[in-house]
């Protein structure tokens, strides 16, 4: 970074330009609009913090934040657990491991909307008919209660993203020096001890990366939410992103939705920064 000559900036210029046009400027505009009565076309009045005050009294918005948080906690744990598990599975010397990597990664290639519809079919029709056939009450009526809607979303996201997280873990697992493991083996460490004392600390950077990814992703989920449950029943499985879109476009309160988005941004940023800070502390260097 020391020799910042003209060519350095020349190469950077398109990105800087794009970034400011597409992200920075709209973001600032949105921030300003959140203090007005903007309706998408014009803003006639400056309201100060009125939108933000309404927001803290808004039970539905709070409910959606709480729902999203619960969802994020469960899916971060599950995704990392499954992701690491799959990675450990496919890094063992097996003939089928390449094929399995492909298969596990595949769901990630399908768009969230389509996945939502596919799983909706599975939860409602497949589960429903299985439940009727086997006489298991619990399998019928999925997605028609809050609890099943929640787990439906968790299953869908885990199924979609676990393969992606697996790839990250594979990269780190494969970079662990073989001689370290071998030395431990000679010292008589069993496979659990080897995992606990060598593999686990050395993949810590992978935890930082994938926990950040899963955390920010689970907070921002929209398309899966839309196609799987559409917030139903009675908006109880509505996540924050969806709540904001509904406020903006169904209820036509653009400025209010902006203020929701600002608060949401602050929450996600705080959570993500804290997580990265603590994860970084745990990392060890070789």
């Amino acid at each position: 970074m020391r020799n910042r000559d003209i060519s350095f900036w020349l190469f950077l210029a398109p990105v800087l330009l794009g970034l400011s046009l597409v992200i920075l400027i709209p973001f600032l505009y949105g921030f300003v609009y959140s203090f007005t009565n903007w309706n998408g076309l014009t803003a006639t009045e400056f309201l100060g913090f009125k939108n933000y005050i309404t927001l803290f009294k808004d039970a539905e918005f709070r409910a959606s934040i709480w729902f999203t948080t619960k969802f994020a906690i469960v899916s971060v744990v599950l995704l990392n657990f499954i992701g690491l598990g799959l990675a450990l599975l496919v890094t063992r010397k097996m003939r089928s491991s390449n094929l399995m990597r492909t298969i596990f990664f595949m769901p990630n290639l399908i768009g969230g909307l389509i996945l939502g519809f596919i799983w909706q079919f599975i939860f409602i029709n497949v589960f429903g008919s299985l439940g009727d056939l086997l006489g298991i009450e619990a399998l019928t009526g999925w997605l028609s209660t809050t609890a099943t809607g929640f787990w439906g979303l968790v299953i869908l996201t885990s199924w979609q993203m676990a393969g992606y997280i697996m790839i990250i873990y594979i990269a780190y697992l494969e970079s662990i020096p073989k001689d370290l493991i071998e030395a431990a083996k000679i010292d008589g460490a069993n496979s659990f001890q080897r995992f606990r004392n060598i593999t686990f600390p050395l993949v810590a950077p992978a935890f930082t990366v994938s926990m950040f990814l899963t955390l920010s992703n689970s907070f921002q989920i929209y398309d899966q939410n839309l196609s799987l449950t559409n917030g139903g029943p009675y908006n109880s499985t509505q996540m924050v992103a969806m709540n904001i879109v509904k406020t903006a476009f169904t209820e036509n309160k653009m400025a209010y939705a902006q203020s929701q988005a600002v608060i949401f941004f602050i929450i996600v940023a705080l959570v993500a920064i804290t997580q990265v800070y603590y994860n970084k502390k745990r990392e060890v260097d070789l």
Binding site: R4, I6, W9, L10, L12, A13, P14, L16, L17, N39, G40, L41, I124, T140, G141, W142, L143, S144, T145, N230, G232, P233, Y234, N235, K246, A248, F249, T250, E251, N252
Partner: protein, 433 residues
């Protein structure tokens, strides 16, 4: 020093980049202007995805008849997509000459863009009551796109086998008796249940079902609802009774039952005897089973006390002309809309290609091809419709996000009916303060 220099460089480079971009776009503009020197260009942004191709074909016919006019059609999927795309286009200064508005709240929002259409032939031809939603003093700010109507769509064969005559169902008690008769024989008739109530769809609960029981207290007038400070739910008990009936005899679980399951899987495959939907289901049923669609279905009015035998029919969307455009564009847009609804070619297309229920006089009813639309037009002719869909005049989002959601809570057993009513009234009042 050094950092100052590099900052200056960033600014310089960004400036160059911006200039390059601007340069590109302005040269394009001048090209376009050259090719359209003495032509009027009308940009249309419309929401009816179902008629996209047919509409574009019709536009070509118009362009051939009127060489001076060039029309660009942009079709954007219904509902939220359309609203947000239109809003984005307008706030970006790329406003279409003709677009769609839904009702009083849209009119309010886009008022400065709406030209007065009172002098058009189409306004003259519009059926009584179809213009209320866009009328302000003596100004008419929109033209109805079409009419739609809904009620209980029933399976004629099943009714016949069960020995029920649809025309005898007039009062709520009649409906109840018919439903019980059907329910007793559902195994012989091969039915899963009598109804399919898609309680997942907020628009079915909040817009359509509720509308019938809310409209009478506003005298079926959208404008009256739009200016109402509060709502009394005079027919709240009737609404509850009707919901309970559908819920009790519906395929379960209703809360995950959606529109496509209702219409395609359950009704078209003859697993249920009745669904509450409108004439728009015809094409879906036709795709599943043409024979059934043409001969096997009929529509009967939902019994609402005092309005027995009336079908709720209304105008879902209106054409608006952008008054901020040049006068000649505004005039050309009006001419096109007039042609669309009053010329022979236009009328034919509206009936036969778009398969609309026209909202205008002097149409040949015999040409309406599907039985549901025909029945609804007949109801309209006989004056047996609830004119106006009052839900377009309620506070924005109230119908679905408040009333619809509360009804869902009631149906799932998480809310008492009294609370549904009181919470919905409360929200209405806060929105109208």
């Amino acid at each position: 020093m050094k950092s100052k220099k590099s900052f200056f460089r960033i600014v310089l480079i960004m400036l160059v980049a911006v200039l390059a971009l601007v340069g590109c776009s302005s040269s394009n503009d001048s090209d376009q202007e050259k090719s359209s020197v003495d032509q009027v260009t009308i940009d249309i942004m419309q929401f009816k995805v179902e008629i996209k191709d047919q509409f574009e074909d019709l536009v070509k016919v118009y362009e051939e008849e009127n060489p001076g006019v060039k029309i660009n059609v942009k079709t954007i999927g219904g509902g939220n997509d359309y609203g947000s795309t239109l809003k984005a286009a307008i706030s970006a200064g790329d406003e279409p000459a003709i677009f769609n508005v839904g009702g009083p709240s849209d009119v309010e929002e886009y008022r400065e863009f709406l030209a007065d259409l009172a002098d058009t032939d189409a306004v003259e031809a519009a059926l009584d009551g179809t213009l209320t939603a866009v009328q302000e003093d003596d100004k008419i700010l929109g033209l109805p796109v079409n009419q739609e109507g809904y009620g209980l769509i029933y399976n004629k064969n099943v009714f016949e086998e069960a020995g029920i005559n649809a025309e005898d169902i007039v009062s709520f008690e009649d409906l109840q008796t018919a439903v019980e008769t059907l329910d007793k024989q559902k195994d012989e008739l091969g039915l899963d249940a009598v109804f399919a109530l898609p309680a997942k769809e907020l628009w079915v609960l909040g817009d359509h079902i509720s509308n019938m029981f809310i409209a009478p207290e506003f005298n079926n007038d959208i404008q009256e609802a739009y200016h109402a400070e509060t709502i009394a739910f005079e027919k709240g008990d009737e609404l509850k009774r009707y919901l309970d009936l559908q819920n009790k005899y519906s395929v379960q679980p209703i809360l995950s039952l959606d529109y496509s399951q209702q219409v395609e899987q359950l009704f078209s495959l003859e697993k249920v005897a009745m669904i509450q939907q409108g004439n728009w289901v015809y094409n879906s049923v036709y795709d599943m089973d043409p024979e059934f669609a043409e001969n096997g279905i009929g529509i009967l009015p939902v019994p609402v006390e005092g309005f027995e035998g009336h079908v709720p029919a209304g105008v879902p969307m209106f054409w608006a002309v952008n008054g901020k455009k040049d006068d000649e564009i505004v005039q050309a847009s009006k001419d096109f809309l007039d042609w669309l609804y009053t010329s022979e070619t236009g009328k034919n297309a509206v009936l036969e290609d778009f398969k609309f229920i026209p909202a205008y006089k002097d149409y040949d009813v015999e040409k309406i091809s599907d039985p549901l639309s025909k029945q609804i037009y007949e109801f309209a002719e006989a004056g047996k419709t609830f004119e106006g869909w009052v839900y377009q005049g309620t506070p924005t989002g109230w119908n679905q996000e408040t009333l619809g959601v509360n009804i869902q809570k009631y149906l799932s057993g998480d809310m008492e009916w009294d609370e549904v009513i009181s919470k919905s009234i409360e929200k209405w009042e806060t929105e109208r303060q």
